[in-house]
């Protein structure tokens, strides 16, 4: 417990993997953070139909494992579907992964990794 508590201290950003509209909206809310320097590191990824799944996975890996300053990762549910195995396999408490609905894909609680666990625990 102590270790995770300590590491949660410097987590202060949110990250987002989403379609253009979701990302735009969330950036408007002010979550966007781009580090300085030539290889500017963004904390958001815009996914459209042409984005390769491997790229999504790579960013998922980056946001969840490599970067230690991200507290919450928001990901559109339909994108989470594309890398479902990765999302399901990720069970660490940090960063928290949140599946959010997107404009064109209304929220489906049946697919949510966490809610699935909730349901299972209550034997529904």
């Amino acid at each position: 417990m102590a270790a995770s508590a300590a590491s949660s201290k410097d987590r202060q950003f949110l990250a987002v993997i989403g379609d253009e509209d979701s990302v735009t909206g969330l950036l408007l809310a002010g979550i966007g953070h781009v580090s300085d320097g030539p290889d500017a590191d963004k904390n958001f990824l815009v996914v459209d139909s042409t984005t390769e799944t491997s790229k999504i996975e790579e960013h998922f890996q980056k946001f969840t494992q490599d970067r230690k300053d991200i507290a919450v990762l928001l990901i559109n549910q339909h994108i989470a579907e594309r890398i479902r195995h990765r999302v399901d396999a990720f069970t660490d408490p940090f960063p928290a992964i949140l599946e959010i609905p997107s404009k064109d894909h209304p929220y489906d609680p049946e697919k949510d990794s966490v809610l699935k666990r909730v349901r299972r625990l209550f034997g529904e």
Binding site: P38, A40, K103, D104
Partner: protein, 363 residues
């Protein structure tokens, strides 16, 4: 008198546009659209006017795809018009494109500032704002180069020349650049239609001067309202006001001094139309910015009222003859139509039917 010779060069274009105008959606069409349950229904309703362009869309397309296709149709029609136009009409159409060019250039400048790949940027550019040297902007690797070599080759060079240097591009917020360019563009367009021998004293001057002045005033008011709470200084702000329009010069001066919404309401109170808008949205009674948009009972925001006014002006253009201004009017109406349809389909897609009527239809 102008009727005698206008049709020699401009008659065909005008005729075509009047034809296009008839395909604009009417109030009846809109009320049909608002009854739709799915985007597919919307697509079906739009079929008479947009048939071939929507045909290739997949079932239940996203609203942005839908809007994209509608824009494609507008673009292709406009391109046809420019191809047919000659002489002063062609120049006029060229001027209409500058507004879109400004957006494109602003986009590219943003991209260059951040060292982005310019290829995907070009895909995002508005097709109407395309000009021959636009792809050349790709070759610029930094802002100075962009300014010295590339921008001066563009049709917009004149708008850059007097008010912006390459240092400005670096430091100024891109929005200021965009608005400065737009200001220069409006003034130049206004100058063009009032001084060009073909247009001076013609119906074109009458209607276009009015609509451009309205556009200028709208920008001044919007800029003022939107600058509250930002770090835009008053002098910078005053530099962005176009020096035409009903508000110029006294109204602009007062806008420049305004500190809050009441100040703006006071500044525009000299012009009956704008005063009526402010009264309608309750701003002049100190309603505050929070009252904009969703606040008022009838759901109209100040911007909505401005759009409404713009549409009415555009519609009025069609009462005139022998002028390429009808193209301008048609274009604005068409853009509003695309916005309306996008809005309606957005409401349908997101199940927010209660505000579906919040569009502007003038026919």
């Amino acid at each position: 008198m102008e009727g005698l010779f206008f049709n020699v060069n401009g008659g065909y274009v005008e005729g075509i546009v009047r034809g296009y105008r008839n395909s604009l959606l009417s109030g009846q069409n809109y009320s049909n659209l608002t009854q739709c349950e799915t985007i597919d229904d919307v697509k079906l309703q739009l079929a008479p006017s947009y048939g071939d362009f929507l045909a290739s869309l997949p079932p239940n397309p996203s609203t942005s795809d839908l809007a994209g296709r509608m824009m494609d149709k507008l673009v292709s029609e406009f391109k046809y018009l420019t191809a047919q136009a000659t002489g002063s009409s062609a120049e006029f159409l060229e001027y209409m494109k500058y507004g879109y060019m400004i957006d494109n250039v602003a986009l590219l400048i943003t991209g260059t500032l951040h060292g982005r790949e310019l290829k995907p940027l070009l895909e995002r550019c508005h097709p109407l704002g395309w000009f021959e040297t636009l792809p050349a902007l790709i070759s610029a690797t930094n802002i100075e180069e962009l300014y010295n070599i590339v921008l001066i080759e563009t049709p917009l060079a004149a708008y850059f020349k007097d008010s912006l240097s390459h240092q400005d591009l670096d430091e100024l917020n891109i929005e200021i650049v965009r608005n400065t360019l737009y200001k220069n563009y409006l003034e130049d367009f206004h100058h063009f239609i009032t001084t060009h021998p073909d247009f001076r004293g013609s119906p074109t001057q009458d209607v276009m001067a009015e609509i451009l002045q309205f556009e200028a005033d709208r920008r001044s008011i919007n800029i003022t309202l939107n600058s509250f709470g930002t770090d835009l200084s008053k002098s910078e702000r005053a530099n962005l006001y176009p020096q035409i329009g009903k508000l110029y010069p006294e109204g602009n001066y007062m806008l420049g001094k305004a500190d809050d919404v009441e100040g703006v309401a006071l500044a525009v109170s000299a012009v009956a139309d704008y005063k009526a808008f402010f009264d309608a949205v309750g701003l002049s009674q100190g309603g505050g910015l929070g009252g904009m948009g969703g606040g008022p009972a009838d759901g109209k925001s100040l911007e909505d009222l401005f759009y409404q006014k713009e549409m009415e002006l555009s519609k009025l253009i069609f009462t005139r003859q022998f002028t390429p201004a009808v193209v301008y009017g048609w274009m604005k109406l068409k853009e509003q139509e695309i916005r309306n349809v996008t809005w309606i389909s957005e409401c349908i897609a997101q199940n927010q039917k209660e505000r579906i009527g919040n569009f502007i239809s003038v026919f």
